[in-house]
């Protein structure tokens, strides 16, 4: 094949890939745009015809209705407290566990690591009843601890951090040992700063998961004042099929998801890195 044909072939390939990416992006984006559109329409109009989303008038009344509920800000605060504490706690615990598994030699280390990984295979539903009863006995329902504690058990986070610590050359630990650094100082000053990309990835995923979590908060937080945003939003829905309040429902979805979208925009680089599996060091 001649050089020019090869270059043309490559250009054609690039354009084909670009076209596919655009199509795929539109497929992904369409539902989001649809939801935004619906949220900006009056409920009565949507009851008559959802295609009215393509026509004016548009309104932000659905969003005002959400904010009119005096509990909304409490739910946002609850979600913020739970997600933030859970994220910080997970980062601390997973970093320490990852360092331990990657760098320390102790009896039963490998078996313990496998046991942690097995946690990935256990669905939440399988332990739900037992957890519910234990938390009931310990009087943890309707408390922040009750909403936070289950999420701190994060086998994926331990696995991620262990792999990341393992990828850091051991010569750095050794150089620091010769520099008279204590084991904690090596962890804190030398290794931990190098895991920032993994920390960011884990932190974002944990925050996203926690913010969107509905199942456990629904069970543990039964009082209106302890609702997270997802549970609170769901509690305001009146009729089953939402035929009377489609615009309001969509506004709720956007309202609940907006903080996550903002977070994503700020930490996009780390999320892409996490998904692609590349390590930034």
């Amino acid at each position: 094949m001649s050089r020019s044909t090869s270059i043309m072939g490559r250009e054609f390939g690039d354009r084909l890939v670009l076209a596919l990416v655009i199509v795929f992006a539109l497929i992904m984006l369409a539902p989001v745009l649809w939801v935004i559109g619906l949220s900006l329409k009056a409920n009565a109009e949507l009851m008559a015809d959802t295609n009215s989303v393509f026509r004016a008038p548009y309104t932000v009344m659905n969003y005002f209705n959400i904010l009119a509920n005096s509990s909304v800000f409490r739910w946002i605060l609850n979600s913020l407290i739970v997600s933030t504490c859970l994220t910080i706690g997970t980062l601390i615990l997973c970093s320490l566990a990852g360092y331990g598994f990657a760098r320390l030699n102790f009896p039963g280390r490998d078996i313990l690591f496998v046991a942690v990984l097995l946690g990935l295979a256990v669905p939440e539903q399988a332990v739900l009843i037992a957890r519910h009863q234990i938390f009931g006995i310990l009087k943890l329902h309707n408390t922040y601890q009750g909403l936070i504690l289950p999420g701190l058990s994060a086998p994926f986070g331990v696995f991620l951090m262990t792999q990341y610590f393992r990828a850091i050359p051991k010569e750095l630990d050794e150089a620091a040992l010769l520099d008279n650094a204590s084991r904690f100082k090596i962890f804190w000053k030398v290794l931990l700063p190098l895991t920032v990309p993994a920390q960011a990835t884990l932190g974002i995923f944990t925050f996203l998961w926690s913010w969107n979590d509905y199942f456990w908060p629904l069970i543990s937080g039964t009082k209106n004042t302890m609702f997270t945003l997802t549970v609170g939003m769901a509690s305001t829905q009146t009729n089953f099929a939402q035929s009377e309040g489609l615009g309001f429902l969509m506004a709720q979805a956007i309202f609940a998801g907006a903080p996550i979208l903002i977070l994503y925009l700020f930490f996009q680089k780390y999320i892409v890195t996490a998904v692609s599996g590349a390590a930034v060091r």
Binding site: E174, A175, L177, L178, D179, N180, K185, K189, L194
Partner: protein
């Protein structure tokens, strides 16, 4: 301990230098050390003494245990048996940071998230050195190694050679009793390696300290070392100055490992002694008079070892044997002539740069008997009396 050159100029440090000059460098004593990894013994009852200010090179092939030995001195590997002492004080039971030793790693092991200055200062901060002393030492090391303009950069923004200098700088600022280098040049490209080797040789004269350098590169060993420890298969084969190692190898392994091209080996029979040395008979029946004293050897089968410079292409008929030229390597100042003797043995001989020899020629070869080594069945070497071949 870091004296000469620009370093001595800093007035604040002059007192600390004086105070440290008493036990400024290390006499390292390794006694009967053993290291095992599971069932495998990687260092087997090894003893060694390294003098103060000495530049000692551990030379050997991969897996011979040289890096493990260095790491044992550094404290990065435990010692299963035996002791390691510095200036009479046992250190093998001390953590690495308390041994007053600095190490330059093969991969440099610079902290990627810290600036060059912070990399150098990290160890000093850990032992509570005052901030003004740290900045003075870092600045001096930066000037000495010509990396002063890089102090605020991070390792990722440096070239391989610059990183290597930073790694050396990090060691220098600690003013340790001993420096350990674990193949620090092996990650550099060929040209930079040669340049850095020369700079390292200059540095060692400015930085008065005991230095141990691990390498598998015989040129690095020969050019840098005061003494070389040749290691093979978990044990020391020979300890000596570069020229001792080269001209009087203790074993066949040393003779093979050191020198390029590798030493010629030809099976011979020791015929008997005469005045000055034994005569040996080559496979083609040629008799060669050597300078190896007869009293040392019993008659029998031996292997004759001689370097290329001991075998010369002689004018026709003036050599002791003849060979057919297989390959010619023209190196400019000399020509290496690979010849095949009548019995099939291959011998590399030297000729002048503008050699007129051609492939397939039959050439006459002279053998310098004073440069002959004889290796017995256990590969132990027998040489001429010291002083005969330098």
């Amino acid at each position: 301990m870091v004296v000469a050159g620009d370093f001595a100029a800093a007035p604040k440090r002059s007192r600390s230098i004086t105070a440290r000059e008493v036990d400024v460098t290390a006499h390292i004593e390794i006694r009967d050390v053993v290291k095992r990894f599971g069932a495998a013994t990687v260092i087997d009852h090894l003893s060694l003494s390294i003098d103060p200010n000495e530049f000692m090179v551990f030379l050997g092939p991969s897996g011979c245990g040289k890096s493990t030995l260095l790491r044992m001195i550094a404290g990065l590997e435990s010692v299963d048996e035996g002791t390691i002492s510095i200036n009479g004080q046992r250190i093998d039971n001390l953590p690495p940071g308390q041994r007053d030793i600095a190490m330059v790693f093969q991969s440099y092991a610079l902290y990627p998230h810290m600036t060059v200055a912070d990399n150098m200062a990290f160890g000093l901060r850990n032992i509570g050195v005052a901030a003004n002393v740290i900045s003075a030492r870092v600045a001096e090391a930066g000037r000495m190694l010509e990396i002063g303009h890089l102090l605020e950069r991070k390792p990722g923004q440096l070239s391989g050679g610059q990183r290597q200098r930073v790694a050396i700088g990090r060691a220098i600022v600690k003013e340790p009793k001993a420096f350990l280098f674990d193949e620090p040049l092996s990650n550099l490209d060929a040209a930079l390696r040669v340049r850095t080797r020369v700079e390292l040789a200059q540095l060692r004269h400015r930085v008065k300290s005991t230095m141990i350098f691990v390498t598998h590169d015989q040129i690095e060993a020969m050019t840098l070392a005061d003494r070389i420890v040749v290691m093979n298969n978990r044990k020391i084969e020979q300890i000596g100055t570069p020229m001792e190692i080269y001209s009087r190898p203790a074993t066949r392994f040393v003779a093979t490992f050191v020198g390029s091209p590798t030493m010629n080996f030809v099976p011979v029979r020791v015929a008997g002694g005469g005045a000055g040395g034994v005569s040996v008979t080559l496979g083609d029946g040629t008799s060669v008079k050597t300078a190896v004293p007869a009293m040392k050897l019993e008659p029998g089968e031996f292997t004759l070892g001689i370097r290329a410079e001991g075998v010369r292409v002689a004018p026709n008929g003036q050599g002791v044997t003849t060979g057919t030229v297989d390959v010619l390597e023209r190196l400019g100042d000399r020509t290496l002539v690979y010849t095949k003797l009548k019995d099939g043995s291959v011998v590399v001989a030297e000729d002048i740069g503008y050699s007129r020899v051609a492939v397939n020629d039959t050439v006459s070869l002279s053998i310098d008997g004073s440069r002959v080594h004889l290796f017995d069945a256990s590969d132990r070497a027998w040489h001429c009396e010291e002083g005969i071949n330098g």
